[in-house]
């Protein structure tokens, strides 16, 4: 029997009972539909993830100071005060794989404008290159300049959230805000970036020259920025706006413990920064950039061979891969569930095919009596099951697309069409048809024509 004749015979046999055929294949429709919807939503999620990583800045590398320890007691990450702005300049000069590099100093304090106040979640002192590293644009006004950084100019850039909170959405350019009694002029507004992957609002940010933050505002290294701590609260002491360095408690030379001093017999640096951020020229150059930066920093920190690094370089790709692993795990889990529903659908097909074989026993007997060999019967029923599954798979693909479209329209989840999933769905549904159609077909082919003809 020719292939297309078998298929036509199978189609006709199925169309003799269209409602039953539809109900039989429903399991496959649902299974394939859910596989497709899962895959499209999953792919959309990972694309969104990739985008969100890009919003954190492409190929960003973060250099954190190491952990100081004394007598077995660790002071926590970043407690070493070894990174300096000069490290930054050196990295920029000596690392060919590094595109941009910027120091950052963090602070956390209140902003006041008129009768409003706000505490931004991040307040960074840095250089204009920071915007390049983070792929950030200035939507209004302009960025502060390198000379502002040199002189510790009282200027700042505000994120969208702060503009909303302090200025009610009005343009803040040229306005002065008060930060710990230091008056700062707003020179620009950052473009919107939305929340990052951890759900942190990236627009709740103030950027200023690092010298300004470090010496005029924070006046203390990282370890005490977020303490309500002692000594630097401006409300308890009298300050005037003309006071350029309000936090007088701060020493220009960060205090080191006796042990630290003994451990690091090197000249005390004038200034340290909390972090150095850099970006590699491309994702492929990230490892090279890390190596080069490590070499430069070890050299500058006079670390001997075998001595541990007094800094850590983090790279976002680790985080990205951890995250995509998470989404992959979720997608795989959902896929497994969808596969189970496919198997259930297959069992449904087998069930109905068995019923159909019993019901059509006389037809089988007749076909055998007019010359169908048992392999013709086997093939006919197998093809029927496969056709059923493939049609179900095709409808399932359509339904899956509709579902993912609805998810996109109604819930605004990102979705993405996945040709791999479609191919897989077609192959899997054909396989289900063969797997679960085989037993009924085999049973049909084993029938004795005499018995089958006499079957009532």
């Amino acid at each position: 029997m020719k292939g297309y004749r078998t298929i036509r015979t199978a189609m006709k046999a199925l169309l003799r009972n269209p409602l039953r055929a539809m109900l039989t294949t429903l399991g496959i429709v649902i299974g394939v539909g859910s596989v497709i919807a899962m895959m499209e939503i999953g792919e959309g999620a990972s694309t969104a993830m990739a985008k969100s990583f890009a919003s954190m800045g492409a190929n960003v590398l973060m250099v954190m100071p190491g952990t100081a320890a004394s007598g077995g007691i660790s002071f926590g990450g970043g407690s070493m005060t070894t990174l300096t702005p000069d490290d930054c300049t050196e990295i920029a000069k000596r690392c060919p794989s590094v595109r941009l590099v910027a120091p950052t100093v963090r602070a956390r304090t209140q902003l006041v404008y008129g009768s409003r106040n706000w505490v931004p979640s991040s307040m960074y002192g840095t250089t204009p290159t920071y915007l390049g590293i983070r792929d950030w644009t200035v939507s209004e006004g302009k960025c502060f300049t390198d000379s502002d950084v040199q002189t510790g100019g009282q200027v700042c850039l505000l994120g969208q959230t702060i503009v909303r909170e302090l200025f009610d959405g009005l343009s803040p350019i040229g306005k002065e805000i008060r930060v710990k009694n230091v008056s700062m002029r707003v020179v620009g507004v950052l473009g919107p970036k939305g929340s990052n992957m951890m759900g942190m609002d990236q627009d709740d940010i103030v950027l200023a020259p690092w010298k300004t933050i470090k010496y005029r505002i924070s006046g203390s290294p990282l370890q005490s920025t977020n303490q309500s701590a002692a000594g630097n609260s401006s409300s308890s002491s009298i300050n005037t706006l003309s006071n350029v360095y309000p936090s007088e408690a701060t020493s220009m030379y960060p205090a080191q413990s006796a042990v630290q001093q003994a451990d690091n017999p090197m000249p005390v640096r004038f200034a340290n920064v909390d972090q150095i951020q850099a970006s590699a020229r491309s994702a492929a150059e990230i490892p090279a950039a890390i190596d080069e930066m490590t070499a430069v920093l070890r050299d500058r920190h006079h670390l001997r061979e075998g001595e541990p690094d007094d800094f850590n370089i983090h790279d976002m790709t680790e985080m990205a891969s951890a995250f995509s692993e998470n989404t992959n795990t979720m997608t795989n889990l959902l896929l497994a569930v969808a596969m189970i529903s496919l198997v259930v659908g297959g069992v449904g097909i087998m069930n109905i095919m068995l019923v159909s074989v019993t019901e059509r026993t006389r037809e089988i007997g007749l076909r055998m009596s007019v010359g169908a060999r048992s392999r013709d019967i086997l093939r006919q029923f197998l093809v029927e099951a496969v056709v059923l599954c493939l049609v179900g798979g095709a409808i399932g693909i359509l339904i899956g697309q509709v579902v993912s479209y609805l998810v996109w329209r109604l819930k605004h989840w990102p979705v993405e069409t996945s040709p791999t999933a479609m191919t897989a769905a077609v192959i899997v549904s054909a396989a289900v048809g063969i797997l679960f159609g085989f037993y009924p077909a085999w049973k049909a082919s084993r029938l004795d024509p005499i018995e089958a003809l006499r079957y009532e």
């Binding site: 076909r367 007019v370 169908a372 048992s374």
Partner: protein, 253 residues
């Protein structure tokens, strides 16, 4: 040469450990162009003999030649081919595919072997046979839209579509009223006379058997009467079945 020749055919069914002999040494011969009735009460082995003759079953013992082929030695696939090419079956309950047009019912046997025919040729052949049985105007009707006699004629057309030399009719009039029965039987006679198709009518009804030119009576697994046409009688026809034919031999065409 005879179309069918059976020599000492035995068929024994095994139900558990018990052997049930149904055919106990049947010998017969049917020449090309004969119209033979196979008669017997139920339980006589009539159906078993019919299944053996129709190549649906193989004998436990004995030899069967159909048109020169030793059927006893064929595999089930080869027997299927033989059924397709050389045999046509007409059943008591018509056995038409439901919800399928008369035309498709008739062309169904062609789909199994006639891979040399195109769709159009298959269709033309089916139309030709349907016209031959007088259903030229009912080709697209489904079995449920046809009367019993028309359904049986569709079944006859289906049996004829492969141009077989031999037609089996198993109680072809069992589900028909007497008037339609006559029509159908007349059609068999005409097919036999005009087209030279050998026809074997299996029946328990003497009125039906009367349409045949020779009647083979089977009783209790043995042929009691009519195993050979007079012209082709054989000496080794089986001692117990040696009764001479009661009807004149069907003249070979």
């Amino acid at each position: 040469m005879e179309l069918i020749e059976l020599r000492d055919i035995h068929k024994t069914y095994h139900i558990g450990d018990i052997a049930v002999p149904v055919l106990k040494g049947v010998s017969l011969a049917i020449a090309r162009g004969e119209m033979v009735a196979l008669m017997g009460v139920s339980g006589s082995g009539k159906s078993t003999l019919m299944n053996l003759l129709g190549c649906l079953d193989h004998p436990s013992f004995g030899e069967y030649w159909l048109d020169g082929d030793a059927v006893s030695q064929l595999s089930s696939d080869q027997r299927a081919m033989l059924r397709n090419k050389k045999l046509g079956f007409v059943f008591q309950n018509f056995n038409l595919l439901p919800r399928t047009s008369a035309l498709e019912n008739v062309s169904m046997p062609l789909t199994y072997t006639a891979s040399h025919l195109s769709e159009r040729q298959m269709r033309r052949r089916a139309e030709e046979v349907l016209r031959h049985v007088g259903l030229g105007d009912r080709m697209d009707h489904e079995p449920s839209q046809l009367s019993g006699g028309q359904q049986q004629r569709v079944a006859i057309a289906r049996a004829l579509v492969n141009n077989p030399p031999l037609l089996f009719a198993d109680e072809p009039t069992g589900n028909l009223d007497s008037h339609t029965s006559e029509e159908v039987l007349a059609m068999f006679q005409e097919l036999n006379r005009r087209d030279g198709i050998t026809i074997i009518l299996v029946t328990h009804d003497a009125n039906v058997a009367a349409y045949a030119r020779r009647t083979i009576h089977i009783h209790d697994g043995l042929i009691v009467d009519g195993s050979f046409g007079g012209a082709v009688g054989r000496a080794d026809g089986g001692a117990r079945a040696a009764t001479p034919p009661s009807l004149p031999p069907g003249g070979a065409k």
